[in-house]
Structures are given as C-alpha cells and as structure tokens.
C-alpha cells in the first residue's frame, strides 16, 4: 500500500525507491510519462522501471530530485 502522492522508481537490480510525486516531477521526462493521456502501464501502477539504470545511480538521481525541489521553493 502506498500513499497517493508517491511514485515508485525501480532500478535495474530491482531496488525500489518510493519518492514524493513533487520530487519526481522535477524530471521533465517522468513528468510527461505520468501526465501523458491514454494510460501507459506506468500510470496505472504508479511505478516506473529503469532496466538500464543501476540502484546506485538511481539513488543519486533521487537525491538530486529532492535537492532541486528544496532549492526551487
């Protein structure tokens, strides 16, 4: 069970990161993904898989999201 305003990011090595939606929207690509009409698989489940990104990198990316969010406010 996840809270409504979160998104799950899954790395290539199956690590799961549960991130606030606000943070994840920092990425234009993910924003488009989630707001695209027509219901791709990701929007239904609220989770995005990155088969080519390792957990280490993905973790860094998530940290970047939060940092960017903090300084944009």
């Amino acid at each position: 069970m996840k809270r409504k305003d979160t998104v799950k990011l899954i790395s290539a090595d199956e690590m799961e990161f549960v991130i606030d939606k606000d943070a994840v929207m920092v990425s234009q690509t993910i924003r488009n993904l989630l707001t695209s009409p027509g219901g791709f698989a990701e929007t239904k489940l609220g989770e995005v898989t990155f088969p080519e990104i390792s957990a280490v990198i993905l973790e860094r990316i998530c940290q970047y999201f939060y940092w960017a969010l903090q300084y944009s406010r």
Partner: protein, 697 residues
C-alpha cells in the same frame, strides 16, 4: 592548486555500449511501430512508457533519427487513411459526429506519441529543421482527412447547411459545431479561412441579399430595421458561440452591407414610414435603432443628418412664412421653441447627443429664423409677454429656463441690432407702466444679453433701470422739501435720460390747471438741483388715477392715460363738449385724440363718456357727454393701457430705416479698419475672388 593540475583534470562523456547488431535499427523501430499501432487502437495500457522512450532515445542517439522520423510519417499516414475511410462511411448527420470523435482520438494519440518521441522532438528535429511531431500530426490529419476528396466538400456543405438551418429558426448542435470549427482553427488560420470562412461569408452574403429583398418589399421602415437588428445580433451571437472571434467583424460587415448599406436610401425615404415620418411622430425607439444601425455603414449618419436638415428647413420655412401663424407673435415664438424642444429631445434620446446632429439643428434654425425679417421683433414681443404676465407665479428655476430658451433663439438671429431696438421700446413701455412681473427676471435677461453681446449692447438698457431708481429717489426728495403738497394730487415723475430711452417725438398737450401747476413746481425743484439740464414732459406716455362720481352717485377710481385725463378733466367745467372743442382745449394730436376718445366712449364696460351720434368711429362733428349711467362691477376701472403691439406697416418701415441708419457708422468704421490693415500688410485681397481677404503672416 596549481594551474597545471587544473588543466589535466577533465570529465569525459559517459560512453554508451557500442551497437554491434546490424539489425538494431530495424528491431527498435518495429517495437515503436507496434506501439504506435496499439496507441491508435486504444491499447496503450500494455505499453511501458519508459521502454518506448528509451528505444526512441537510443535510435536518435545512434544516428537513426531519419529512420525513426520517416517511419513515424508512414505509420501515421497509413492510420489516417484508414480513419478517413471510416469517416466517409458515416451516414447523414452522423458524419460530423464521427469526424469529431476521430479527431479527438487522433489528438490523444498524437500527444502520447509526442511524449514518447520527446527526445527526437528536441534534438533531431531542430537540427534537421523538420516539422515537430505535434505539428506533423496536425498536417497529416489535414492532408489525409480534411483535404481528402471525399471529405473536404462534404464537410463544408454540412457546416454551411447547419448554419443555414439555424438561420431559418432550427436548433442545431452548437457544441458539435464549435468542436469542428475549433479543429479547423487548430489546423491553421489558412485552413479555417479557406475551408470554412470564405465560403461562409459568400453564402451569407447571398442569404442576406435574399432576406433584405424579401423584407424590403413587405415591411415598413421601422419593422425592417427591427429585423435587420435581430439578424445582426444573431450573427454576433453565432460568432461567440462557435466561430473564431476574428470572424465577427467580417460577418457583421456582410450583414451591414446587404441589409443596410444597399437599401439605405430606400429606407430613409420610405413613404409613410421613413425618416421624416419618424421625426414627425417622435418615434424615439425607431430613430435610435436607425441611428445605431446606420452608424455602422459608410455615409449612414450623414444620410440621416442630411434628410433631417432639409426636412427641418422645410418645416421652419413654412412656419415663418405662414401668414396665419404670423398673426400672433407670441404664438409664433412659442411654436419655434416647441419645435426646438422636440428636436433637442430627439437628438438626446435617439441620436445619443451626437454633436454633428446638434450642429445641423442649429444651422437649420439659423437658416429659417432669418428668412422672416420680423423674427427679432416677434422674439422681443414674446419676451415682453412673458415679463408682463407670462411668468407670473413661475418658480425662479423655471424663469431661468424660459429666459435661456429665449437667449438660444436670440443667438440664431442675424439682425441682433433690430432685436435691440424693439427690446428697448418694449422695455420702456413695461418700465413706465410699471407692468413688469419680476424685476429679477428683467435684470437676469439683461445679464444674459450682456454675456452674449458685450457691454455695448446692454449699456442703454441698464441706463433705463438706473433712471427708474433715480426717479424714485428724486420724488422722495421733492416731497420732503415740499411738505405742503402732501394734501393735493400726488405726482409721480420718471426722469428719462434721452440717450438711454427710445427716441420719442416730444409732443406736449395742455394739462389741466391743477396738474400743470404741480408739474412746474417739480421742474423748478429738479432744475434747482441739476443745473445745465433740460426737461420736457412726455405727455403721451403717462398715466393717471382719478376719482370720479357719476350721475347716480356711484364712485369709481379710473386708471387712464395722461391724454385721457386731460379730456376727462375738461368735463369738470362743461357738460357737453364737441370734438373740436376738446381738440382745441387739450392740444392732443388728432390720431391720438381719436383713439383716446374711442377708448372712453365706444368700449363696453369702459364707456365713461357718451357720444352723439352713437357710431363706432369718432367724427369731427361728434359731441361728448359724461355717461351718468356708467356702471362697473369694480371700484377701480382701468381704461388706458399702453400695451406693446406688433407694429403696423408704416411703423415697421420706420424702425427698419432707423436700424439701417445706425448700421452706417458701424460699417464705415469696419471698412476703415480693414483698409488700415491692408495698408500695413496684415491683410491682402484675394486675386481671384473680390469678396475674399487673406491673412498675411
């Protein structure tokens, strides 16, 4: 850190796996092609955005952008051709609904496709100057669907059909219309204009040409304008509901041209219902409507204005030359004021106080008021009537309103000096007979005249008021210094300064003894305090109150003119007097004497004298007696009144002559001034037109 170390510190780009598989592009593309199919088939939920995005990204990165792009074009085109067929297959009214549905689907698909191909949109496309995905999608829709031969004309005729139905009163699906029109607008303003707006305007022009022809044959002007207004508003409303806002001015131009501009003259001059009829009947609503509609077309307002002006001039001319109406000057002026009020009202209520119309009104009035050269005299008589009795009991504000209206007419006069002459005469009579209703009103009018024409114009008039006041003071002084006279007859003298008052021939008559003695006493008193002056009695202008006792002992107080007093006093010493005897004793000029006797012997209720024979006219052989049988309900009887009347023909000639005389010096002075300006090179004569002067720099 030293510089050397800094230079050695570099960050290298992240290197991707080198692609080895020769069929890489094919494989990747088919994944994407499949995805596009699924999207168009509403099956996107099985697709992973991330996967598709990554594949597109990789293709572009590995320099396969060209393949991706052309693949996209081909796939979309194929789909759109399919869609086109299904739209063509729709029957009747379902055609537009199907088109609308497919358009919505296409937009949704397009957005999804754009999202997954975002990387290509941002890098490959700008670099190669190709059309971005979204725009590409719209262009392909336009080319394969909207401009497909089977759809293009059907679409247009359906849209025009619906508009036509709505114009004939049917209810149509406005939401659907709005969506379809919006689609055309989204495809580009040239699509909207070529595929809809231009034909729409053409068809509308034909429609309204027919409408206007139909209406103009069977409607009167007012009804036609109502219908035109309705149609105009309907079109404006249509635009707000489902057309591009830029179309509003274009369609309203069509309606204005077909329904108004093309029929303007016929409407204005329509028998029994055109502009002139509306003006005559004060049809404010119709006139207002006409004004609002005509102001939208070139020359609309000037047409209305010209017809109104010529109508006004016609009416005005009739007014001022109609002999019947000219019999009563007060009535005449009142009619002018009423006409002005009527048109002021029309201009404010129906023509939104348009200044150009106000000017047309003013110029028309100026034109016809001056057609009749008795206008100045009549206006003065009107004022005289008001100041004598017309303003009795009227509030101060209303008095001002009436005087302002008089001033307004005054401004239209070209011969203002004629007015001044008459005004002076009438004012003199009012002052001397004490017959003015309100001193404040008199003075208020003088102030207005001064503001309008300057001090010169009113200086003499003001002099007259001053004389009246001074005379009051003089009388007080006279009686104060002669206390023994308080028991005798009371004398009231108005001393008039010659220059201020209208010139009168100075005629004296023989006053009765008591009166003349008193007058002499006054003369010596006055000349005692004012040396170097000359006094002459104006016996034709005075009045007297005398107490009379008649045969049966009835007593009355008679208010008479000085002449009448002289005549009556004779009967204190004689019972019977012939005309000749009266003439000799009084020294009154013949015409005045006849009028005087007539008013006392021949008028019922005022016949204090009896005449033999009992004829209406005074003959030189008539004899006069006191009428001992005289009766009246009232104790005080008024016999002599000096009322201002409109002049007789000879009097008129005389006045006009005097005005011409007075103008001569003014004109000469003006000529001298112009000559001196020409000499000193401020003015020059125009070479071609002798009547023109030019200002020199």
């Amino acid at each position: 850190m030293s510089n050397q170390k800094k230079r050695n510190f570099q960050i290298e780009a992240f290197k991707h796996r080198v692609v080895v598989d020769p069929k890489y592009a094919e494989k990747t593309w088919s994944i994407l092609e499949h995805a596009i199919h699924e999207i168009y088939n509403h099956n996107a939920s099985g697709l992973s955005f991330e996967e598709l995005y990554r594949n597109a990204y990789n293709m572009v990165l590995h320099k396969f952008g060209e393949k991706l792009y052309s693949g996209l074009v081909a796939t979309m085109t194929a789909h759109l051709k399919e869609i086109s067929k299904s739209i063509e297959a729709a029957q009747g009214d379902l055609f537009l609904e199907e088109l609308n549905r497919k358009w919505n689907d296409h937009n949704k698909a397009l957005q999804m496709i754009r999202d997954i191909l975002m990387y290509m949109d941002r890098t490959y496309i700008p670099n190669t100057h190709k059309t971005p995905v979204h725009e590409l999608g719209l262009n392909l829709w336009r080319d394969n669907v909207i401009h497909s031969s089977k759809i293009q004309s059907r679409l247009l005729s359906m849209l025009l059909e619906l508009v036509h139905r709505e114009r004939t009163g049917e209810v149509i699906d406005r939401g659907l219309m709005r969506n379809i029109i919006k689609m055309l607008m989204d495809l580009g303003s040239s699509v909207y204009q070529e595929d809809f707006e231009k034909p729409f305007l053409e068809v509308s022009a034909e429609f309204y040409m027919g409408e206007s022809q139909k209406f103009i044959e069977c409607c009167d002007c007012g009804d036609y304008l109502k219908k035109a207004e309705l149609r105009l508003n309907e079109e404006i409303e249509r635009v707000t509901h489902y057309l591009d806002v830029k179309s509003e001015v274009k369609i309203t131009n069509v309606v204005e041209k077909e329904m108004i501009a093309n029929h303007m003259m016929r409407l204005v001059h329509m028998e029994n219902s055109g502009l002139v009829n509306m003006l005559l009947d004060d049809k404010y609503e119709d006139l207002g409507r006409m004004y609002n509609l005509f102001r939208r077309v070139p020359n609309g307002l000037s047409t209305i204005r010209d017809v109104m002006t010529s109508h006004l001039r016609e009416i005005g001319k009739q007014l001022v030359t109609d002999a019947e109406k000219l019999k009563d000057p007060v009535e005449f002026v009142q009619r002018l004021l009423d006409e002005k009020d009527k048109y002021d009202s029309i201009i404010s209520q129906a023509f939104s106080n348009d200044k150009t119309f106000q000017n047309a009104l003013n110029s028309s009035f100026e034109y016809f008021i001056n057609l009749n050269n008795r206008s100045p005299e009549f206006i003065s008589l009107f004022v005289d009537d008001k100041l004598r009795k017309g303003l009795k009991g009227v509030s101060e504000e209303d008095v001002e309103i009436i005087l302002d209206k008089v001033m307004m007419l005054f401004r239209y006069l070209q011969e203002k000096d004629v007015f001044e002459k008459y005004y002076k005469q009438h004012l003199a009579k009012r002052l001397l007979s004490g017959k003015t209703v309100s001193d404040d009103a008199e003075r208020s009018l003088i102030v207005k005249l001064k503001t309008e024409c300057g001090y010169q114009f009113t200086s003499k008039l003001e002099g007259m008021f001053t004389d009246m006041k001074t005379s009051q003071d003089t009388m007080q002084g006279f009686y104060a210094s002669h206390p023994e006279l308080t028991d005798g007859p009371t004398l009231v003298v108005q001393v008039l300064t010659t220059g201020s008052w209208p010139t009168q021939p100075s005629i004296t008559c023989n006053l009765p003894a008591e009166t003349s003695a008193l007058c002499e006493k006054f003369r010596s008193y006055y000349l005692g305090t004012h040396t170097g002056r000359r006094l002459s009695w104006q016996t034709n202008m005075g009045t007297a109150d005398i107490k009379a006792t008649f045969g049966k002992g009835q007593k009355h107080e008679l208010n008479v003119s000085t002449y009448q007093m002289c005549v009556l006093m004779l009967f204190n010493n004689a019972d019977r007097l012939s005309y000749k005897e009266v003439e000799q004793a009084t020294g009154i000029p013949a015409s005045d004497l006849k009028r005087c006797l007539q008013s006392m012997a021949c008028v019922k209720g005022k016949n204090v004298l009896r005449k033999e024979p009992m004829s209406k006219d005074i003959g030189e052989d008539d004899a006069f007696f006191v009428n001992d049988k005289f009766t009246s309900k009232f104790y005080k009887v008024k016999i002599g009144t000096v009322v201002a009347q409109k002049e007789s023909e000879p009097e008129k000639q005389e006045t006009r002559q005097r005005v011409e005389e007075d103008r001569k010096p003014q004109i000469e002075a003006a000529i001298k001034r112009i000559e001196s300006l020409i000499e000193r090179d401020f003015l020059e004569r125009d070479n071609n037109d002798r009547k023109l002067y030019r200002y020199l720099a």
